[in-house]
């Protein structure tokens, strides 16, 4: 049987890789994909804890996380398409209109 902390460590590793993608990459598309990876690593934790403590709420939370992720991706890609149409850039550094 796989011990619980293996799953937790996998979640940690995937989370750090996703955070590296968000912080280090400058391409908006890759930043969004890294966000997906972050949410997915959290889902691994939810389901692992739910399984090892015999609780359905882990899986239910994971379902809600997936639903919210789908909504977030749809809106983010809509914003991205509008951004590319108006400013024709994909770099995070070029999108600083809201900076004070």
């Amino acid at each position: 049987m796989v011990p619980l902390w293996w799953y937790i460590v996998l979640g940690v590793v995937l989370f750090v890789i996703g955070a590296a993608g968000v912080l280090l990459r400058r391409n908006i598309l890759v930043v969004l994909m890294s966000l997906e990876l972050l949410l997915n690593s959290v889902n691994i934790n939810f389901i692992a804890f739910g399984r090892y403590h015999a609780d359905f709420r882990g899986q239910i939370f994971a379902i809600f996380v997936i639903a919210i992720t789908a909504a977030e991706v749809a809106v983010a890609l809509g914003i991205l398409v509008a951004l590319v149409r108006n400013k024709s850039t994909l770099k995070v550094d070029d999108v600083t209109v809201m900076k004070g």
Binding site: Y7, L14, G18, M33, L37, G78
Partner: protein
């Protein structure tokens, strides 16, 4: 047996995730992330959450990544391929990431809360039925809220991506 499969899926998922972050071309990133999501769904099967594994494949691989590929197809990524990978001045971010990873690993390995070896036996084999009952009975309000959020996102995405009239 289980451990071997877990190690296989975990290794492949970590490698594909690293590929996703390190590769220059966004199309290759999207494909690597797709492979990573497939591995994660295999891990969900190992965790005896078959419904979540199927939802993972349908929603992430089938819908979200295809959406990403459509957007990549619509916009020109050739300029993005050429840009420098790691611009200077992100040393603080690297330090922060290393600190974050080390802190989480130390906390996980130190604590004895995570050393549960055997999963508690679930009641009966009707896992999906119980999950559905719980989702539609106890969690009905969050479920409806999620559907409203999805509807709002649908309308918002259409409004955002539409061409301006006149």
């Amino acid at each position: 047996m289980d451990q071997g499969f877990f190690l296989l899926f975990a290794t492949v998922s970590v490698i594909t995730a690293l590929t996703m972050v390190l590769v220059r071309n966004p199309v290759h990133s999207a494909l690597a992330l797709m492979a990573c999501f497939l591995q994660v769904s295999a891990i969900f099967v190992l965790l005896e959450a078959p419904l979540l594994a199927v939802i993972q494949i349908f929603v992430y691989v089938g819908a979200i990544m295809v959406l990403f590929l459509f957007v990549i197809m619509m916009i020109d990524v050739r300029e993005a391929v050429l840009q420098r990978f790691l611009p200077g001045g992100n040393l603080p971010a690297l330090v922060l990431l290393v600190l974050l990873g080390v802190e989480m690993l130390v906390l996980v390995l130190w604590s004895d809360r995570f050393s549960v070896m055997e999963p508690v036996a679930m009641g009966g084999g009707d896992d999906v039925r119980q999950l559905g009952t719980a989702l539609f009975a106890d969690y009905l309000l969050p479920f409806e809220t999620a559907s409203v959020i999805l509807l709002a996102a649908l309308v918002g995405a259409i409004m955002l991506a539409r061409k301006e009239q006149g």
